[in-house]
């Protein structure tokens, strides 16, 4: 067993595992065209251009490559949802990575920008997309710089732009970056932002971006990691890809594990089979909980995901099973809390995030998120009452009516309620403000009860959102 880290790829941990998207990370100069070319670079593009576009699309469909942005939708299927004969079609690359806990797209952009560029070109060729906008999160100066440099190199080498490699296929890739707004990662908000507007999500259905997207035209939005898998698939075939992982979750996946573990890091894992126990305790992964402490809880799929307990450790990193157990894999981010964690305060860091990032379009999110945050702040500060705990659930119900997904607990005698939830909002920001509150209150109610005073005989004090939106 080997564990390797590289100073030029902060956080990344390599081991004896198949690597698809991080295969060049051991090279300090992995971001240069020279290294890329010396390690099989643009071979996938060459292989793709030698075939008709429809065949490349079929290959990606056959690989069952699942989207890595959060929803896990198969890329090949998404590309097929564009209305027949309607052009132009656009590709928008989602490099807005900002879901709490998530750290992988930035590494891929900084460490292997040519792999992403090659992936964009393969997607454009296969799905008939005539222009690509590569949208990077505003706060990622180094990723912007690396991608800009790589694009300049690729243009100079005839790999991007007009008549690529003499094939007649041509597409421009335009680098664009945001300016700080989490919700812009949602695909329709991303499109609004790219059109020069405030980044507020559009109502969907009826119209998904594949039908009506950027400038009202069919638009494919794909995540950076999703696209970074395409060079491998195009060069080696769908079967080489499905040979790794499981039938429902083929290939590998990048997962960031942060918080109270011995070796926090970003790991490229075999999809579908690696369990949470492997990840948190395995010597080739995080090596256990820090300071020999006990595990208290973990968030399995980014800040929006309902929390898991040690009871769920033996679940594999696989969407359906995790969904049935009451959570989701989301963006591949695990946040670990050990026995020393102040649970209500930990929940507050997430609820505050989502309340702060509300775009203000839907009332339940704009008002409800702020309510949740203020009531929880009061509870954490030791100024809440038992009534406040009911109030939290009541406000939550206005965002997510009905049963909320949650994990099972043997100690509490709780059965799991499967994912997903119902929601009264356009996008997932509103529900995500409630999810940590609900998880924490359901799984650790006693920690809240210790914190609050018995309800004084007062009628409920309304919580007034002072100052309005953030």
């Amino acid at each position: 067993m080997t564990v390797e880290t590289y100073p030029w790829a902060p956080g990344f941990v390599a081991g004896d595992r198949p690597r698809i998207v991080t295969s060049r990370f051991e090279h300090e100069d992995s971001h240069t065209l020279e290294r890329y070319m010396a390690t099989g670079g643009y071979e996938g593009l060459r292989a793709a251009l030698a075939k008709p576009a429809a065949e490349v699309h079929e290959q990606v469909r056959g690989s069952t490559l699942l989207g890595r942005g959060g929803a896990g939708f198969p890329a090949g299927v998404k590309w097929g949802l564009t209305p027949e004969g309607v052009y132009p079609r656009y590709l928008v690359v989602n490099g807005d990575e900002s879901e709490p806990g998530t750290y992988k797209d930035r590494l891929l952009m900084e460490r292997d920008p040519h792999q992403l560029i090659e992936g964009c070109l393969i997607a454009c060729y296969a799905a008939g997309l005539s222009r690509c906008f590569l949208y990077i999160r505003g706060e990622m100066a180094l990723a912007q710089e690396r991608v800009a440099t790589a694009l300049n190199e690729a243009y100079a080498a005839g790999l991007v732009g007009r008549d690529i490699l003499g094939s007649g296929f041509g597409v421009d890739i335009v680098l664009h970056w945001g300016a700080g707004a989490y919700v812009v990662g949602e695909e329709t908000a991303l499109i609004e932002s790219l059109e020069g507007n405030r980044g507020m999500p559009r109502l969907k259905p009826p119209f998904f971006p594949a039908a009506i997207g950027l400038y009202g035209k069919p638009t494919i939005v794909n995540n950076v990691e999703t696209l970074s898998n395409l060079p491998f698939i195009a060069a080696n075939g769908a079967e080489a890809y499905t040979a790794i992982g499981t039938e429902t979750s083929p290939g590998t996946r990048m997962v960031a594990v942060s918080g109270h573990v011995r070796r926090p890091g970003v790991y490229e894992i075999v999809n579908g089979t690696t369990t949470f126990r492997d990840l948190l305790y395995g010597e080739e992964f995080c090596g256990g909980i820090r300071d020999g402490n006990e595990l208290k809880a973990f968030v399995p799929g980014g800040g929006s995901a309902p929390w898991f307990l040690p009871d769920q450790l033996d679940l594999p990193f696989e969407g359906r099973q995790v969904g049935a157990a009451g959570s989701m894999l989301g963006s591949g981010a695990i946040m670990v809390m050990d026995s020393t964690t102040d649970i209500p305060a930990a929940a507050l860091t997430l609820t505050r995030f989502y309340a702060h990032e509300s775009c203000g379009k839907c009332v339940p999110c704009r008002e409800g998120g702020t309510w949740l945050m203020r009531v929880l702040e009061r509870v954490v500060a030791g100024e809440g009452t038992t009534d406040d705990l009911d109030l939290l659930l009541e406000v939550g119900q206005s965002i997510c009516p009905g049963d909320m997904p949650h994990a099972s607990s043997e100690a509490l005698g709780l059965e799991a309620t499967p994912f997903p939830y119902k929601m009264t909002t356009i996008c997932f920001v509103g529900p995500s403000a409630y999810v940590p509150v609900h998880s924490a209150l359901t799984l650790f109610r006693s920690e809240f009860e210790e914190r609050v005073a018995p309800s004084r005989s007062r009628t409920r004090i309304p919580v007034v959102a002072v100052g309005g939106g953030q």
Binding site: P10, P100, M140, R198, F353
Partner: protein, 207 residues
Amino acid sequence: MSRFSAENLTLAREIVSRYPRPKSAVIPLLHLAQEQEGWISEEAMREIAELVGVTPAEVRGTGTFYEMFHFEPIGRYLLNICGTMSCALMGAGELMHAAEEELGVRAGGTTDDGLITLHGAECQAACTEAPCLQVNYRYRFRVTPDGVRQLIADLRSGALSDEIPPHGTLATVRQHIPSDRAVGAVDPDVDTAPPAWIPVTVEGASS
């Protein structure tokens, strides 16, 4: 004062030409203005409005949605300390406390000499390297309270002025699309024919 420099004006026009609809260039041009001046003035927004053919109010409307844009002067260095879950679990609170104490300002404030603005920030996509922070969007990982104090001392002494450009500059390399290689903007209303590499089927529809 903050008209685009001649060089930036050329660049601004080139940026506008990359998009089929000029309004798409609003955010990139706001970044360019902020890079030139460190913040965004009314005059800069008026100029951007002219360049993309919208009203100054529309430019402001878009710009104010995004946290990175500043419509008043701020410090030369913007110190953003992450306070979201992973960083909070690993001691972000102590970092913020150390920074507030060292700078003598609360989060949101700027030092009297105009050198450093301190902000609480949200998840910076470096959660495994918690607690972390950014100075003008340049990362520092696994930071300790002493590390924050040292960083502030280095910013004050000028030891980092080569490494960290003044607030407003993000990537120091710009994309350049050579005109002999460019495909062009791909207008949604004009370029409605299937692209050259997609075969047209017999009925005239394309795959």
